[in-house]
Symmetry: C2
Subunit: 441 residues, 2 copies
Amino acid sequence: MNRILMLGAGRSSSSLISYLLAQAKIYQWQIVVGDVSEQAATDRVSNSANGKAIQFDIDDVESSKAMIASSDVVISMIPAHLHPLVAKICLAEKKHLLTASYVTDGMQSFHEDAKSSGLLFLNESGLDPGIDHMSAMKVIDKIKERGGRLTSFESFTGGLIAPDTEPENPWRYKFTWNPRNVVMAGQSTAKFLSNGTYKFIPYQQLFKRITPVQVPGFGEYEGYANRDSLKYLKTYGLEGIKTMLRGTLRNKGYCSAWNVLVQLGCCDDSFQLEGVERMSHRDFMNAFVSTHDNVDEKICLMFGLSPDSDEMNRLRWSGLFSDEEIGIAKGTPAQVLEHILNKKWKLKPGDRDFIVMWHRFQFEIDGKQKEIQAYLTAIGDDEINTAMSKTVGLPLAISTKLLMQGKIKSRGVVIPVMKEIYEPVLNELAELGIRLKEEEM
Amino acid sequence: MNRILMLGAGRSSSSLISYLLAQAKIYQWQIVVGDVSEQAATDRVSNSANGKAIQFDIDDVESSKAMIASSDVVISMIPAHLHPLVAKICLAEKKHLLTASYVTDGMQSFHEDAKSSGLLFLNESGLDPGIDHMSAMKVIDKIKERGGRLTSFESFTGGLIAPDTEPENPWRYKFTWNPRNVVMAGQSTAKFLSNGTYKFIPYQQLFKRITPVQVPGFGEYEGYANRDSLKYLKTYGLEGIKTMLRGTLRNKGYCSAWNVLVQLGCCDDSFQLEGVERMSHRDFMNAFVSTHDNVDEKICLMFGLSPDSDEMNRLRWSGLFSDEEIGIAKGTPAQVLEHILNKKWKLKPGDRDFIVMWHRFQFEIDGKQKEIQAYLTAIGDDEINTAMSKTVGLPLAISTKLLMQGKIKSRGVVIPVMKEIYEPVLNELAELGIRLKEEEM
């Protein structure tokens, strides 16, 4: 095995591709980078002797087949809903596949076939999901080895901005990853286990029912529940645990302001808005309230907010009440909101992002209640070499190296919860400065 | 043409089938009633000489084709999502089709083929949608004939219970139509036009943004916006109107209590609940709040309600905080809620339902602002012969008769907004006692 096909050359792939190209020199690999934009692929490969840039479009099935057939391993960073198409070709051509995306039902359906074909389809191997699974399993396995019994596991991760980046930004947030995912976040019901009871939070409650999170040495954050925590009960080997909650971390105040947009319907992606080409930001907001002017006053009334409340200040700072033209011809509310927010939330030169991951494990051992908190922070170098790009890309890159070296024996559709993956990946991440601290209390 | 295939023999088809069987004697038609339960079809046909009961299952394609092929006209009252399957066979076999359901994209896609084949695929021909379209178009056409220019059209319809039915029921509501549709109501964004501005109400706002409706002689109601009002701008010929809103009518107080269930996530149909077989009603509610006991107190806190508020009284009356076992083995939240509510909301012997429809037309004529209100009320005979069954079934039955008599020339996928349909249908409904009153102010 010496040929890796890397699909997707967007900004988020930068650390991943740099790592692979560096390793390629050592191991004599060839790295083929494919993107719908051949230019993007070329930019990423630069003039590396072990790299090659190609145009790749999954909709062009014949060409995609040929490119996958001539590789040994495929890494896919293209949009997650396209992964089953990639997986189908990988299965037919007997190639391994690695992604940083959640295992969907579509991906899961390949498990038996991939396994019996001796193929690894490794998913959820970025940051969240990814490092969170790996670092949690490391602690969970250690607690079990000590004879402890887990009673509660909570885990929160957030991609924020560094404390010294844009101090005037009241959200303490910018887009450091796919903006669409941020706008669409939480639209499926969150499921988790709390104190022995299954709990379900619908979208309309998600940003109201927040969990305060204190990260030692880094201050106070707030977390909202993330998707389906229940499905990890079995994967993590935590059947019988009382509390199991995975969530997303934000700076304090983000959720109550974002909740206003959720409640109004601004994140709705189910229909095309009428007349976007003639709309201002203010007109956009006006489509979601019952009045015809003074949309900001109406929102204050609807949500019981004062005009100088933190929530209104955040919305105002984002330009949502301005008379500026939106500047796109059409879109769903979610697409329009993303476009408006991107005017303020796009990383500027010099901006640095900031990753925070925090786990809390509660367990019983020798008749005593114990707690371990584990946390990781990472700051980006600049607006290109982000902490997000590193923490998402490097676990995937290291996993690929391990696979190329024959060190991963797992096969089928899996996520990185087994020691043979998490141990070497976490070790190498630590060498690269991405390291969780643990405190037992 | 003398053979009508009527699909669906549920309780809601009773008035429709009775009407057809009575007309069949006069016109020498044969009425074939098909249902997945042959017994249900047999019960409905009774021993009528012109009727025949058959087992009909749309999933059995060959048998469905044969049954449709041997008929002249098909009326479908089976679940709406199955109508495109029926339409496909009707098109292949060159048969007319009538339904009381909304035109979906799936149904709309048959328009050109049905039209060029000389077939009528008439939809939205029940009560709401149905009589609302017909009665609105009658007034709209009259206003236009007088030289008036419509500026506003609002229309609300509700299926309620008669004032003397179950006076202790604080919701003033029971299931008089498909309970699932009631529980799932409003889950797609409502779209309408208000004072010249497009407005969008997401599910999480729908039961908060209500419109007070006063029906002359019948008191005060409240309405919430219903689906996509914008798509009727063109169908009704109302391009350029300032306000266009279709909605659903409920008794006062219903919406704010129902809103609690919406906000909690009890109407969610996107996932299977865990452990339903061991749950009480109270356990069900507990899955949607953050605490582990005192779910009613927690709900009061979450929504700022006092324990003896109208909202809490309604929820309590429906048994939602009781320790009674749910009594089903599995289900989505929406399915479980439907099951619990049905214990109290099912029509009992002697219960009578109550239909209210109300339109308001505002228009300019000779430089003056005018208004017409038109409204209809209907009370059921008992829990079987409901006003709902009559007002949904009879417009469909009368339309079928008109088609059989060659009196409808329209072809393709249409809704009953044309005079050739609405005039004779409304006239015959009036003879049967279903009549809108009009008041000009």
